[in-house]
Amino acid sequence: MTTATTKTSTATAVTPPAIGYCDLGASIRFPRAPDEESVKDLVRAARRGGVSTVVVDVSGQPPVDNARFQAACAALQGHDGVRVVPAVCPVQGGGLADVASVERPAAWATREAPGSSWLVPDEVRFVYKLPAPVDDAVLLRRVAETARARHALVVAPSVDGALAAGAVAVEGAVATRLGLPALPEAAEVLGIGRILTIAKLTGARFHVAGIFTAAGAALLASSGNDRVTGSVFASHLLLDETALLARRYDTRLLRRPPLPTSSSRLALIAAVKEGTLLVSSGHAHVPRRERDLEPVRATPGGTALASTARLLRPLLGDDVLARSFGVLPTRCLGDTTTPVRPPPVPPGLDAPSTDDDDLARCLQEFSR
């Protein structure tokens, strides 16, 4: 990414170039197995999908403050045209991680590493990402207080972890018919309610990722707390739980959280159009060995980053897409100055971008 600079008598003003879509919901695994996605793959997918900012969780799997984590952060930088924001995991086991030690490499990677060409504004210096729900309110409070003190945005799953454990469907007729482990929609109301309460208590910034129920979206919209935002994964706007009946036990349709009910899906689309919900990819590369398992054991997948905008465009239109997948997520990261001009995306579903673009392939099959 190149920047234009203008010398004035008092300071150097930096005019950042316009950026494209901004994704708060991608995942990548560190350390990765040979058949897992690399940062290079992720960046390539982002570029293909017009995404120029990606938040990536790097500290979920390796222990904090070690050479691998620092190397992972360093690897996220230096990709011309794509800003990769390393997200820090503030919890380890059942307690608070040594946050300072994971923040150091993250801060270095986003601000100082060779090739990193953008600055995290003061308002959001770090992104903390919770890879799993934190049901323990004491721990969540400590995460939030730490985040507030360090100017971090906490990206958290929307559900109550205990109610959601093992679920691949929403409780109701579809899950009962297919004999699938399911969670009640109330799991999200509980999860978001906990986050809103802790956010109010601490004043921390939260982003609730993967909202999948009408009740969850409504609760967030009615909270009146502009320091808490929420997003829905692309797959949950494009498909609902009836897809599980249409393609029985197809592991490509497994999602975490599970696909919404029909009525929730419509409410989520409406919330995105109203501007109360953002959109994110939910991008998660799943190696074949984890997809070819028994349906309830297979690893849930996501929407490929390369396809997110292309798949959503017919549903949302250019303006809504640009706002929900560009402007608002960029602002969530505290960047209020960079102009957002998402690039045009090619229409149609005829060509999945990558071999593991499961959702695009499923939609292609549904449209036949």
Binding site: A175, L178, G179, A182, Y249, D292, E294, P295
Partner: protein, 331 residues
């Protein structure tokens, strides 16, 4: 639509999807095999030269033995594969395992797996006809067929007459029972009225939306209100479920939902011909009192006996459909 003597579906994945004609054909065929099983020479050459793969990824005794005996009585060759736990624990996916068995070219595949939907996965890589011998919490179609066959036999009815006018009450952990799911589909298909009863923690959401059943969380109301019950089908309570707090203690369950001697006496007071059924294995003293399980009203062993004939019918009809598909190029 069932064409004469052939099922309308290439596989028996579940009761869902079966037509009434399919069910009648399966039960009619099973009746003829019941007769075979009473002969001194209990073997017919119907599947000579055919290979039946018995793939049991979950512990099973009676279903596995029943299918194995069924295949042998039809003169088929059998290939047995047993493995408990996940295939991935051995570093191999379910599809890898299936592809290896497929290389041995079985004509019929019987699969039992602890994960719902496993037979659908196998269908992607196996060319033989598949019989679901129980998948997770989803379905156990042959158990439902043998339950229906037992009820028909005891009622001295022909399969074509169905079970109209009969009321069956299924009691237990409906949420986690594949036996209940298959019976909630088959018994109404045959014309029976079905009631289900269990603690609220064991009744799945959306039950009434999916099945044509009456739902009770009070077992006494389910057993002793409305039309007299013709059969009580008790489900096995898996004690490990207690750890997840879906029930209190065994004693709690026995008092609240078990088929005790007193509770069954109240059923008999309304219908002295009421039957007691159980898919086995039983937890005596938990979901069913020993005296009830061993009473003259119990048809539990008859269910096991009928199971062999039902599974012979399933294998025979699937093989017949498979052959026609192969000959017609549609396998």
């Amino acid at each position: 639509m069932t064409t004469k003597g052939v099922l309308s579906l290439p596989h028996l994945m579940g009761i869902e999807g079966l037509t009434r004609d399919d069910a009648t054909l399966l039960l009619d065929t099973a009746r003829s095999f019941i007769e075979v099983n009473t002969r001194q020479l209990k073997k017919v050459p119907a599947l000579r030269g055919r290979l039946v793969a018995l793939m049991f990824f979950e512990n099973s005794t009676r279903t596995r033995l029943s299918f194995e005996l069924a295949a042998k009585r039809l003169s088929a060759d059998t290939l047995s594969f047993s493995s408990s736990g996940s295939s991935v624990s051995k570093g191999e996916t379910l599809l890898d395992t299936a592809a290896n068995i497929e290389a041995m070219k079985p004509d019929l595949v019987v699969v039992r797996h602890e994960a719902s939907g496993a037979p659908w996965m196998l269908e992607r890589v196996m060319s033989g006809a598949i019989a679901n011998a129980g998948d997770g919490n989803h379905e156990h179609p042959t158990q439902a067929l043998l339950d229906a066959m037992t009820l028909l036999h005891r009622s001295q009815r022909q399969p074509k007459d169905g079970l109209a006018g009969k009321t069956v009450c299924i009691v237990g952990d409906i949420s986690r029972s594949r036996v209940a799911r298959s019976n909630m589909l088959l018994l109404p298909l045959l014309g029976a009225k079905v009631r289900v009863a269990g603690p609220a923690t064991m009744l799945p959401a959306g039950l009434r939306d999916v099945y044509d059943v009456e739902v009770f969380d009070d077992v006494d109301e389910a057993l002793c209100s409305g039309a007299p019950v013709d059969a009580v089908m008790m489900l096995r309570i898996q004690k490990e479920r207690a750890a997840r707090a879906v029930m209190g203690s065994d004693d709690d369950y026995a008092v609240g939902y078990g088929l005790t001697k007193d509770r069954f006496a109240r059923v008999l007071a309304r219908n002295d011909a009421a039957l007691v059924m159980h898919p086995g294995p039983m937890n005596r003293g938990v979901e069913i009192d020993a005296e009830v399980a061993d009473s003259p009203h119990s048809v539990i062993l008859e269910q096991t006996e009928t199971g062999v004939a039902v599974r012979m019918a399933v294998l025979y009809l699937l093989a017949l459909g498979h052959s026609r598909g192969v000959e017609g190029g549609a396998a």
